[in-house]
């Protein structure tokens, strides 16, 4: 590109010279000015048609690719959506029993950020990261600490920049097999074994509709904190009114319950986030194809204008040449 521009500049400087010596004109001109570049002798600059044609071809290819990606995302969305909606029933009884205590004040917070491995999905990963950072800031104070557990590559890339030392675990390649409860529960088990926590806060995007995703935080308290809150009264204080069957004590039941609650909520979170990822990718690819279409229209206009200008120039040259011969 730079060379073509340089050649064009040379052409402009030599143009008055050449116009005063018509016989040498054509040979000199063809060797000095690049064959692709057609600037008229008067020095007006116009972009060459070949360059515009190349651009149009590449923009059209991009449009095809983004349209195909949108179709793929739409079909994947349909597959995951029913499962995500069905999995909502798993954690609703837990919320009815134990409440969703977002405002509980605890010392050790663990923020679990659910994000995608692949990109091109709009802004959902950035919103999750933003909320995770806000949560850790909310929970900062004397002898309170926040650690991160990151699911997915995209959040890892963003959080590694300024909160590297607060990351406890990173988990990737989750979507290699279709998502199932067993995988998520193994994941949840690993998190429970590796991280000490008083409260787990899972940050994900809940799927409302194909164009709307709501960033959500689900809180799960550790059994000790649940007992503490139950004694303090409030929504958890009613736990004692439940009868306990079998040989387990209340603390054992609470421990089993919180582990299972964590696993269920994680399952729902991962499914909803996968739905939101496909939906966001659909709308991102859709707007990208539309932009590519607009760009193609503008380029077509430029191409036609350039083509007509060069035809007009040729006609003028022919006619003036002819009239010079006859007249």
């Amino acid at each position: 590109m730079a060379m073509a521009a340089a050649l064009r500049r040379e052409g402009k400087r030599l143009a008055p010279l050449m116009s005063s010596q018509p016989p040498i004109n054509t040979t000199l001109r063809s060797s000095l000015i690049s064959p692709l570049d057609q600037s008229s002798i008067g020095g007006a600059r116009s972009i060459s048609t070949q360059i515009v044609r190349n651009r149009m071809k590449s923009v059209k290819n991009i449009q095809k690719i983004t349209k195909a990606m949108k179709m793929v995302a739409a079909s994947k969305l349909r597959a995951v959506q029913t499962r995500a909606e069905n999995s909502r029933g798993l954690w609703q009884p837990f919320t009815a029993l134990l409440g969703d205590a977002t405002s509980v004040d605890v010392k050790k917070n663990v923020v679990i950020t659910v994000s995608s491995d692949k990109g091109l999905c709009g802004g959902i990963n950035s919103t999750s990261v933003k909320i995770s950072r806000a949560l850790s800031k909310l929970n900062s104070g004397p002898d309170k600490e926040t650690k991160y557990v990151i699911l997915g590559e995209k959040a890892k890339a963003q959080l590694i920049r300024d909160t590297k030392k607060d990351i406890a675990l990173g988990l990737t390649e989750i979507q290699k097999n279709p998502l199932n409860y067993t995988q998520v529960s193994v994941l949840a088990d690993d998190i429970l074994k590796n991280v000490e926590y008083d409260a787990l806060r899972i940050v994900f995007n809940r799927f409302q509709s194909v164009v709307q995703f709501l960033p959500t935080v689900s809180t799960i308290l550790s059994p000790e904190i649940v007992e503490r809150e139950a004694e303090a009264g409030g929504s958890l204080g009613e736990l004692d009114s439940y009868e306990i069957e079998g040989g387990d004590t209340k603390s054992e039941i609470l421990q089993n319950l919180t582990e299972f609650q964590f696993s269920c909520v994680m399952f729902n979170a991962v499914l909803e986030n996968a739905c939101s990822e496909q939906g966001a990718r659909m709308s991102a690819m859709d707007s990208s194809s539309r932009n590519a279409g607009d760009m193609l229209d503008r380029l077509t206009l430029t191409y036609n204008r350039t083509r007509q200008a060069s035809i007009t120039t040729e006609l003028i040259e022919i006619i003036s040449g002819a009239s010079a011969l006859t007249g």
Binding site: G170, E173, I174, K176
Partner: protein, 70 residues
């Protein structure tokens, strides 16, 4: 509240409730008859990569198993 008598055997062995319920679910799935059995077992595949962090990125353990028991 410390060690109230009978802790269930699986918790004494170091398993969490989640692991216990997964093993039970695996046993139930293995009781199915053939066409449903393979399709149920395909719903159990686990694959992910876990990396523990300490100020940088140390070991990368890939846990991939066809049966999800740890």
């Amino acid at each position: 509240m410390a060690s109230s008598g009978a802790v269930p055997f699986w918790r004494a062995a170091g398993m969490t409730y989640i692991t216990y319920s997964n093993i039970c679910a695996n046993l139930v799935r293995n009781c199915l008859k053939e066409p449903h059995k393979t399709e149920a077992l395909s719903r159990e595949k686990v694959h992910f990569a876990l990396a523990k962090w300490s100020d940088g990125k140390p070991e990368k353990a890939t846990i991939r198993s066809d049966t999800p028991d740890i």
